[in-house]
Amino acid sequence: MGTDILSGIAEVARQHLGWEGPLTADMRLVEDLRLDSVRLLTLAAEVENRFRVRLDESDEAAIVTVGDLVETVRRKLA
């Protein structure tokens, strides 16, 4: 399931953020994916749309890497 989520997030990144490289769990959203605040918002919204989950502020404080985001979505879907 984790890999499904990761590939779903990769799809979001490709479609909505124009990210063309590979996406791995250890990549950091800000430093490695180079997401500024508008693109972080876009990512959050599109991940919510895709997985039909609602991320809230308390989840988000801990999200630094792609892996953190995968884990949060996985927990929400469980």
Partner: protein
């Protein structure tokens, strides 16, 4: 005594359509009439008074767009205290930077209490512990139970609110506005749109409430007129820009403002399917301000959304700044906005605005734009292509297109001045000074900054431009300020982010932003001098390392990055780096390392200045001058 915002609130709520329509992510609206806003505000004022908060004390507010913001904001005002709206944290983003920034803002504003959304509060702990406001940080529900307060009637000279002109960790500028200034700005704006039989104006906005355009521009006029204001949270707009346009259509908003970036985002992220059944013909004033207006975006937006009833005449470039409580100039509300073409060389080298090729003027969103078909991809190509197409034509090759931001609002005056403060004639580029009824009292805690900005009733905007036919055209900025997506940033925070990187010459980097011709938005450039001792490995890693460091520290993406030889950046005689000169040199292609002076170089330099002199003589002859 003249009216204040407090009076507006005490009076509002008599008309059935007076109030806030808060739209959520499911596009469901919650109604909160002005009467309810008042009741909730009086309750908050009672709680604050019970705690000990007094008249004139600063109350910081950290809320997302929603009913609680209004209860807290007006609660502070009705008590005679001074609300200080601050940014809530951004989703998924950089809490450390947020904490540092909020701490600075709390201490600069001297807030005695922080009122915060219950969910946001947990992130404020560190900032509150560092700034130590006397009454701590509370959610509205945690205020002591008390009888509603008796509303205070403030004097016109009392402070009405404090807003931060740039969200920065380095030098936050806390703009203090009096009740007189806020009321003057509100009445001026409201007066632009008189209701008439069959037309009751209303506004829709996604702009943040901690900034002048959302708060003073949208909330206060609606309150004064006892009218409807439709509000969307800014983060909802960014995630789904179509909801803004749908809200305008669905609730028949006549006025809706946004910075250039908002219009640009709609071009890239709104799909035709999102617009099904939307009718934008109600939208009379699509105000565009807070950052430089890109003519290409205006045209592409008008062209793309004409299909859904948007009138090209609705697009209204405006100019203002938080130090003037918001608006200073407005485009003509009856006419389509326009841009003009000016000779590029004369503008850049002599500071003279010489109209080029009479008739080359284009109506933004008029005939030129209307031919562009209305799908996202084509509109986007058009947005990118306007500049390129313009440059390809022979007349346009030498010209620069600039959008008029209109004439001064009633009561405001403009003055274009040279660096010595002397007024320049029309069509000369200089520093824009403004005077008017809504200038700030000053920057809190920064008397030197205040003295630099305010002189004899005039405000130095730090923006560069000229007047032509009484209309204002902006050409750039003299002040050191980075504007990205409608938000101001201090260059220092970008520069400091790369200071400690290996291979960087410490203290020798310059960050600037500007709006390139034909671009859809401002571009952020960072110029970094390498250290003399930098290794080849360090140099190879430097560009990426700089971009990463800036993003991590500020959330800004660097668009252009130049690593330069030591000593390349222009400095003042005292050795201070000159940011606007750096940009000027870069754009002129003249940002080169210093070279040893040789006889040949000296001869070249003299030849260049000889050319400049000849050009100057020629220009004067053309104008019939000796």
């Amino acid at each position: 005594m003249p009216e204040t915002v407090n009076d507006y609130l005490l009076r509002a709520g008599r008309l059935a359509d007076g109030g806030l329509r808060l739209v959520d992510r499911a596009e469901q609206a919650t109604w909160m009439g002005w009467g309810e806003v008042r009741e909730r505000a009086l309750a908050v004022a009672g709680g604050l008074r019970e705690l000990g908060v007094g008249r004139g004390e600063r109350v910081a507010l950290v809320f997302p767009t929603g009913g609680e913001f209004f209860a807290g904001f007006f609660g502070a005002l009705l008590l005679g205290a001074v609300p200080v709206p601050l940014y809530p944290p951004v989703r998924l983003g950089r809490l450390r930077e947020y904490v540092v920034r909020t701490t600075r803002m709390l201490s600069v504003s001297g807030a005695c209490i922080v009122l915060a959304d219950a969910r946001v509060r947990r992130f404020l702990g560190e900032a509150v512990a560092a700034a130590r406001p006397r009454y701590g940080c509370r959610a509205l529900a945690d205020l002591p139970a008390a009888a509603p307060a008796e509303p205070v009637r403030p004097r016109p000279d009392d402070l009405a609110l404090v807003q931060f002109s740039s969200g920065t960790t380095v030098a936050p500028k806390a703009v203090a506005l009096s009740h007189r200034a806020v009321a003057a700005q509100t009445e001026t704006l409201s007066g632009l749109w008189p209701d008439r039989p069959g037309l009751r104006h209303s506004c829709a906005s996604w702009l943040p409430l901690y900034h002048d355009m959302g708060l003073i521009g949208c909330v206060f006029p609606a309150l004064l007129r006892d009218a409807t204001l439709t509000l969307l949270p800014p983060e909802l707009f960014v995630a789904r820009p179509a909801l803004w346009l749908r809200a305008i259509g669905r609730w028949g908003a006549t006025i809706s403002p946004a910075p250039n970036f908002g219009y640009s985002l709609c071009l890239t992220r709104v799909a035709d399917a999102d617009m099904e059944g939307v009718d934008l013909s109600c939208w009379r004033a699509a105000l565009n301000g807070a950052e430089p207006v890109a003519p290409a975006v205006l045209r592409a937006f008008a062209a793309r959304f004409a299909r859904w009833g948007l009138s090209p005449a609705a697009l209204k470039p405006v100019y203002g700044l938080s130090e003037a409580a918001l608006g200073v100039t407005f485009s003509d509300l009856e006419q389509p906005c326009h841009s003009r073409w000016y000779a590029r060389e004369a503008l850049a080298r002599e500071g003279v605005a010489r109209r080029q090729a009479p008739g080359a003027e284009r109506e933004s969103g008029g005939a030129a734009g209307a031919g562009v078909a209305g799908n996202a991809a084509r509109a986007n190509r058009a947005a990118g292509a306007v500049g390129a197409a313009g440059r390809a034509g022979s007349a346009a090759e030498l010209g620069r297109e600039i959008v008029s931001v209109g004439r001064p609002l009633p009561g405001f005056r403009l003055s274009i001045r040279d660096p010595h403060g002397r007024e320049l004639p029309p069509c000369r580029v200089g520093r824009l000074w403004v005077s008017g009824p809504s200038l700030m009292e000053g920057y809190l805690g920064d008397p030197e900054g205040t003295a630099r900005a305010l002189r004899d009733g005039w405000l130095d905007t730090g923006d560069l431009g000229f007047l032509d036919d009484g209309e204002l055209y902006l050409t750039g900025r003299a002040k050191d300020l980075i504007i990205v997506r409608g938000r101001n940033h201090s260059p220092a925070e970008v520069e400091q982010a790369v200071d400690a990187l290996p291979g960087v010459r410490t203290g020798c980097s310059v960050a600037v932003s500007w709006l390139p011709e034909g671009a859809a938005g401002e571009v952020l450039a960072l110029f970094v001098e390498r250290s003399r001792h930098a290794t080849a490995d360090e140099l190879a890693a430097l560009p990426d390392a700089c971009r990463e460091a800036v993003l991590a520290a500020t959330g800004l993406a660097v668009d252009r990055l130049l690593v330069l030889a030591p000593g390349t950046l222009p400095r003042t005689s005292s050795g201070k780096l000159q940011r606007s000169e750096t940009l000027r040199l870069y754009l002129a292609g003249g940002l080169e390392p210093p070279a040893p002076v040789t006889a040949l170089r000296l001869a070249q330099a003299m030849a260049r200045s000889g050319m400049a002199y000849a050009r100057w003589r020629f220009a004067r002859r053309e104008e019939g001058l000796p």
